[in-house]
């Protein structure tokens, strides 16, 4: 097969729990670093929703594991969700593809997203980016690969929300401009 036959790879964001926690945190952090994380996570979440809103149904731009999403949902609404809170979770489930296949749900919360990234990278036309605000995630990914091969390297990018935001601005400039415009209201209305 020649290069002309190779389909361009589609970017897909694989979301970790820390991303959800920061993006949907109601309180605006006071600490400068935490504020940057919060704002970038919010930007990335908005861009995911914005992009998924115009993609054909069935196309995916962001995925996570059922463990990650369920953990986020429980923190978001607690054990007794209100009707509105449950609606929000259902809306998000339709903007972010939640993988609940038997082979994924038996894994730990950390390993589940690493396996999703590896699978997407290895057998599809997606180029995954793992989005996490936990610096130790990279070490965990390295350990994950070195279990089988001490020389193995992580084959995909691991970005923080701040890095993901910068990447998405370059990759989707028009969409990023729309998100930025909508988010300006966040600061002018509060």
């Amino acid at each position: 097969m020649g290069d002309a036959d190779v389909q361009p790879l589609e970017v897909i964001l694989v979301l970790c729990h820390s991303f959800f926690h920061d993006a949907f945190c109601v309180q605006r952090p006071v600490d400068e670093t935490l504020f940057k994380n919060w704002l970038s996570s919010r930007f990335v979440a908005n861009l995911i929703i914005e992009r998924q809103a115009e993609l054909p149904e069935g196309s995916r731009f962001a995925v996570t594991s059922d463990q990650v999403f369920t953990s986020f949902a429980l923190k978001f609404h607690g054990q007794k969700p209100s009707y509105r809170q449950k609606e929000i979770v259902n809306i998000l489930r339709n903007s972010i593809y939640v993988i609940n296949s038997p082979s994924i749900i038996k894994l730990s919360i950390d390993d589940s997203v690493l396996v999703i990234c590896d699978t997407l990278y290895s057998r599809s036309n997606y180029t995954p980016i793992l989005v996490t605000n936990i610096p130790k995630k990279r070490e965990k990914a390295e350990e994950f690969y070195r279990k089988k091969d001490p020389k193995a390297k992580i084959p995909y990018q691991i970005y923080t929300a701040v890095e993901t935001q910068a990447y998405l601005r370059g990759r989707f400039p028009e969409l990023a401009a729309i998100v930025e415009r909508r988010m300006k209201m966040l600061f002018t209305s509060s």
Binding site: I49, I88, L92, S189
Partner: protein, 75 residues
């Protein structure tokens, strides 16, 4: 299609709720959106209730979607 809790919904009906852009809506959902003053790039929450013939409810999102959803969850 996601099924909301029947107790919360109060009746046996499938409900799908998702965010779409006005410009990608088609058919009757587009007709419903057309009744409101919406721009093609506006984001809307489309609630589809499926009894026999689906019914569409369109709600405009003001500002960024995450902030809108968080505010909405408290209403």
């Amino acid at each position: 299609m996601d099924k909301l809790d029947k107790k919360l919904l109060g009746k046996t009906m499938s409900v799908d709720i998702r965010i779409r852009k006005v410009k990608v809506l088609q058919g009757r959902a587009k007709e419903v959106a057309g009744k409101s003053k919406l721009s093609p790039d506006d984001l809307v929450i489309v609630t589809t209730s499926v009894g026999s013939l689906p019914e569409y409810k369109i709600e405009k999102i003001d500002g960024d979607p995450v902030s809108f959803l968080l505010k909405r969850s408290k209403s």
